[in-house]
Amino acid sequence: MAKNRPQAKVIDFGTARKHVKPATEAKATGTSQPKPFLETWLKNHEDSQSVVQENLSLKQQKRRLEEERDSLIPSIPESTLYYTAIFFGLIITMSWLIGSLLWGKS
């Protein structure tokens, strides 16, 4: 009985995803062989999951952008902030000291 079923396809769930061709690709190559139900189901499930993930990441990006738009402080790299702070600090310090030498009383 068992010998009569060598063609029966055993689906290994661990590797199934790797072997599945995307539906669009299958159409493009023109292969019209009917796909087993589980393979199609897995493919659809994978596609829907990736759409969900994409939507989630888009939502996160949108939220982050909104937060940054509301914040007074723009999002800049940390190194830029560091050099800006140092430059700004030195400019203020030097101008105040030079100003006191020019216009201040001793």
Binding site: Y82, G89, G104
Partner: protein, 324 residues
């Protein structure tokens, strides 16, 4: 490690005491403006702290926190009221009286921090500290006593609130290394001292444009444009901001890392005596005046320090029993 922690804590306390004694000397002998001095020295100190820290994570996150702005404002206000207090009393007396912050911290934590209850040793130490503070306050000259105590209460209040905010500041709590702590503190102090600088210049501009007889009482308290450009104040603040202030903050962070908090607090409780030693040294060179400090003040100081040590000992016992 314990000896190293003690050594670093002692260096930190000596730097703190030196900073206080020098601030008083500059105030009394050179008549620097306390608000401008505080603001400018903290601004320069922040630049040095950011330079020490170097580029890295945490800067932007710090600036976005509302805690940052509250902490910075309290830091500036605390330094200003401390300077105003030092204009009236000696650094030694101020250091003794400032121990009131120990009691204020415990009471505020008891009210606001869930689950915090003072231990047995706190109840032994607090009356001792109060008695000592009472004796020092009674020894102050009657014409300055009320004002000195007023500035003391404000300093203690700002300091305690600042500590509470620092303990709950999300970025400051995450900052683990000394460099991270320098970076966070640097950005915090820079933003607030800059805002205060702008505020001072705006007020000075308004003060200059309003006729003196029509000026409001509030404006009279604020520095004028001439005072904002006072060379003595600015250069003294620049020296203090480049040398002692960043050193004091850096060593404090270092001490907090290598010594246990209890060990550091224990060493910190003897700070008034170090301040007294430094003031005496300055006095022997003909600088400053410690004649205000009487033997009664020193005895009261000993009571305050013993009260503080009892409380620290209680914490030490609690921490050792926890670790066992």
């Amino acid at each position: 490690m314990l000896r190293y922690g003690l050594f670093i804590s002692l260096i930190t306390i000596i730097i703190w005491a030196t900073e206080r004694v020098l601030s008083r000397f500059l105030l009394v002998a050179h008549h620097v403006n306390p608000i401008i001095f505080t603001c400018f020295s903290l601004f320069i100190c922040s630049v040095v702290l950011i330079l020490i820290a170097g580029p890295g994570k945490g800067g932007l996150q710090t600036l976005r926190q509302p805690h940052t702005w509250a902490y910075g404002a309290l830091q500036v206000m605390m330094n200003t009221t401390d300077m105003l207090m030092l204009a009236l009393i000696t650094s030694t007396e101020a250091s003794f009286l400032a121990r009131l912050s120990i009691i204020a911290a415990i009471l505020l934590k008891w009210v606001f921090v869930h689950g915090f209850v003072p231990n047995r040793y706190d109840w032994y130490g607090m009356p001792l500290i109060l008695v000592g503070i009472g004796i020092v306050a009674a020894g102050l000259s009657p014409d300055i006593r009320v004002m000195a105590l007023f500035w003391l209460v404000l300093t203690v209040l700002f300091n305690t609130l600042r500590t509470l905010i620092a303990e709950t500041h999300p970025t400051a709590v995450q900052a683990q290394t000394i460099r991270q702590r320098c970076r966070v503190t640097g950005y915090v102090v820079m933003t607030t001292s800059f805002v205060l600088t702008v505020f001072l210049f705006v007020i000075a501009g308004v003060k200059g444009s309003v006729p003196a007889d029509k000026g409001m009482a509030f404006l009279n308290l604020m520095p004028s444009l001439t005072e904002l450009m006072d060379q003595r104040t600015l250069f003294a603040a620049a020296i203090m901001g480049v040398t002692l202030l960043p050193l004091a903050m850096y060593f404090y962070f270092y001490a907090a890392q290598v010594a246990k908090t209890e060990i550091f607090m224990m060493v910190a409780s003897v700070q008034p005596f170090i301040a007294y030693g430094l003031e005496r040294t300055l006095h022997s060179f003909g600088l400053g005046n410690v004649q205000q400090v009487t033997p009664t003040d020193l005895a009261a100081g000993a009571i305050i320090v013993s009260g503080a040590l009892v409380m620290v000992y209680g914490r030490y016992l609690a921490s050792t029993s926890r670790s066992e």
